[in-house]
């Protein structure tokens, strides 16, 4: 059993390596799908987290000059791996809090099985599934990216502001689109609008004429369309235009693709379709701070969720500073205090300023690169959305939705 002996030696070596944190080092778990299906995206997200950590450490560090140390754990976008990674971070590394993981599934597994029972605060940068809002999490699960459901509210506001009072709704019968549609209907009615018809449709049908002619009754001014462009969205727009049933369309990001213009024609869509999308406001001062630092480090600041990655690491540092100790039980409450909406605005890179404000006992309101991080009761943020219309050049033209 020579092999077993070697294994025993390896195991004891591992145990010795991992005894306790070094003095003056505060560990934060950095879980992410380093391997697995979204590994390329995660590389940029992790880079964002690292840059935020460097900003913290090179501007005075945490508390009394302690360094913030991110401990990487591979959640592989797989709930099995994420639970294992979470167990190591919480129990072996004894981290103060965890940022990540990347995928909604990995987040769901890790928080349900590990961190909620252990009372460790998790702040995810890219999990967007609505089911995470509903977890009974003792206020320990937060995220810096908007739940998909928020887009429904954003669209409702946009339609109402455009002066449309009566709309018909149709959605592809899947979790994502149904979720957005439900929120849209609720919010639009709350604003005072009227929903003349609301019908689910099955994707991949050859024609939607009968559904659309039913929906066109009652005098709707526009169609709110929640579908994927490929499986039903393009067909619905085509059928509507061909038969003169609907002329104006409001849609969520499932409809955003070049092929929509390609197949329906820019002339037909110009001034007739508005498609929302989750986005960062590239004109915002916070984003510019982040983008400059990210570019200087050799990255592309427009990489998906890289800005969110920066924000979660910075927020976690602020929460530790606010809590005044590397105490995992205090992070959740502290996180709410540094995220706003009240207090003096702190932007990416302004660690020294934030540290001073907290030392002086003033309130801090971190406005992140990816948007304001005012957490609601579920620990969610509303996020920022852009709207895409067909521009003069016949391509999509994007502007921020305010």
């Amino acid at each position: 059993m020579n092999f077993l002996k070697k294994m025993a030696i390896t195991a004891s070596a591992i145990a010795m390596l991992s005894v306790g944190a070094q003095a003056g080092e505060i560990k934060v778990g950095s879980a992410g799908g380093v391997t697995g299906p979204i590994a390329e995206l995660v590389a940029a997200i992790v880079k964002g987290r690292q840059i935020a950590t460097e900003h913290v450490n090179s501007n005075g560090g945490l508390l009394k000059g302690d360094t913030m140390k991110l401990v990487i754990a591979d959640s592989a976008c797989d709930p099995k791996a994420a639970v294992d990674a979470g167990n190591k971070l919480v129990n072996v590394e004894q981290v103060v809090g965890i940022i990540g993981p990347s995928c909604s599934g990995a987040t769901n597994g890790m928080v349900s099985s590990v961190t909620i029972p252990a009372g460790v605060t998790v702040l995810s940068d890219s999990a967007t599934a609505p089911s995470i809002s509903e977890l009974k999490d003792k206020d320990t699960v937060f995220r810096a990216s908007a739940s998909d459901a928020y887009q429904g509210k954003a669209i409702a506001d946009m339609v109402w502001k455009a002066g449309k009072k009566k709309v018909a709704v149709t959605y592809s019968n899947d979790d994502y689109n149904a979720g957005i549609a439900n929120v849209f209907v609720k919010e639009f009615k709350a604003l005072g609008g009227e929903v003349t018809g609301n019908q689910a449709h099955e994707p991949n049908k050859a024609s939607y004429r009968s559904e659309l002619s039913t929906l066109a009754q009652g005098g709707p001014e526009a169609l709110a369309l929640f579908a994927y462009y490929g499986s039903s969205g393009i067909t619905i727009v085509k059928n509507s235009l061909e038969n003169g049933l609907f002329g104006k369309f409001y849609a969520a990001d499932g409809m955003f693709d070049k092929s929509v213009i390609g197949q329906i024609g820019a002339d037909n869509l110009k001034d007739n379709i508005w498609i929302t999308q989750a986005a960062s406001d590239t004109e915002d001062a916070s984003y510019k701070n982040f983008a400059e630092a990210f570019k200087a480090a050799g990255g592309d600041p427009e990489a998906p969720y890289a800005a969110h990655g920066y924000d979660v690491a910075f927020l976690m540092a602020l929460a530790i500073e606010k809590a005044g100790a590397a105490d995992r039980t205090k992070i959740s409450a502290a996180l709410r205090e540094v995220a706003g909406p009240e207090g003096e605005v702190v932007r990416p890179g302004e660690w020294a300023k934030a540290k001073k404000l907290i030392a002086d006992g003033k309130k801090v309101n971190y406005q992140g690169a990816a948007g304001v991080n005012d957490f609601d009761a579920n620990g969610d943020v509303t996020g920022l959305f852009s709207v895409n219309v067909v521009g003069d050049d016949g391509n999509w033209s994007r502007s921020m939705l305010k």
């Binding site: 991992s18 391997t35 992790v46 990487i72 597994g109 099985s113 252990a118």
Partner: protein, 324 residues
């Protein structure tokens, strides 16, 4: 934040995952170790078990079918039963294939299952997965709930081990070995080879489904990524080969050992500088492949080689009762 307490909790999680993998590996041992069936679609059967119990035991939600709120035991039994039926149908189509072709066919079948779970959104919530699965003992205080679940897993491992061990020593097990070693001579001895292979395949798949069900309750969440072949098929193969195929103790040893290697290596790699730590995540995968190579080439029988049951003790009556 007591470090020792933390290590103990981590130890519990290692043992729990190791135990679930031990059940999976025992299932594979029935197929490969006993009957010589090369099943490369473990993840598929594992996924069926996980989703079955997930849907049966969760409370009502608008995300997927369900709201049955069945007791755990119903979830476990239904997972095994449904997987058994599906395995029978798969076996009808695939089992006549020779070993390497069977491997290709089962990879394909596992992929089909994964795509069904991903796309039949009305039933499974598609890529978003099934969340808020209840976990046995979860209302007990820490750390007793974790101990409770570990105990449940270990009890399941023990029951499966005893049953599989009895089967191995029985005439049924010896027919299996005969088929594995020399199919024409088993046939010549009047054994219905196809039936025996089917039995081995179905029983193995049912055990895999049981492991899937345990995993679903442990994670409290399943999604199609949980049936990713790396951690649900190939790792299981490595566990069996390293532990010793056709030896049930070896299967269990291999499962615990490889899970500890897989999980604990990250504690070392996470101490590297960030850039290296990210790359080291891939080295862990490489390490698993390397171990498989070393064992296949240097110790093809694994740590605990196969031990044939003692023929002298069990001749006589048992032979005449042997099923054909």
């Amino acid at each position: 934040m007591d470090a020792l307490y933390g290590y103990m909790l981590y130890g519990i999680s290692l043992a729990t995952m190791g135990g679930i993998y031990a059940v999976l590996t025992l299932g594979l041992n029935v197929q490969w170790g006993f009957a010589g069936l090369f099943n490369a679609g473990i993840a598929g059967f594992f996924g069926i078990g996980a989703y079955t119990t997930a849907i049966l035991t969760t409370s009502a939600t608008h995300r997927h079918i369900g709201g049955f709120e069945m007791p755990y035991i119903v979830g476990f039994l239904a997972a095994m039963l449904i997987c058994g039926v599906i395995a029978y149908l798969v076996g009808k189509v695939c089992l006549r294939l020779r070993s390497d072709y069977l491997a290709i066919a089962t990879i394909g079948i596992a992929e089909i299952f994964r795509l069904i779970l991903k796309n039949e959104t009305w039933a499974t919530n598609g890529p978003r997965g099934v969340s808020e699965i209840p976990k046995p003992f979860e209302h007990w205080p820490e750390p007793w709930n974790q101990f409770g679940f570990l105990l449940l897993v270990l009890v399941v491992v023990a029951i499966v081990y005893v049953l599989v061990e009895v089967a191995r020593k029985s005439p049924w097990g010896r027919v299996m070995t005969a088929i594995r070693e020399n199919e024409p001579s088993a046939k010549a001895a009047g054994k219905n080879v196809e039936n025996f292979r089917m039995e081995g395949f179905v029983i193995g798949c049912m055990i895999m489904a049981l492991a899937g069900a345990l995993m679903a309750h442990y994670l409290k969440f399943v999604d199609p990524n949980a049936t990713d072949p790396l951690l649900a098929t190939f790792l299981v193969w490595v566990m069996l080969i390293v532990g010793g195929s056709a030896n049930n103790k070896g299967a269990i040893l291999g499962a615990f050992l490889m899970w500890v290697v897989w999980s604990a290596t990250e504690i070392v790699t996470s101490r590297l500088p960030d850039e290296l730590a990210i790359r080291a995540a891939y080295i862990r995968i490489f390490l698993i492949g390397l171990m498989l190579q070393i064992f296949l080439q240097k110790f093809p029988q694994g740590i605990l080689p196969e031990k044939r049951p003692d023929v002298a003790k069990s001749n006589g009556n048992a032979e005449t009762k042997m099923a054909d």
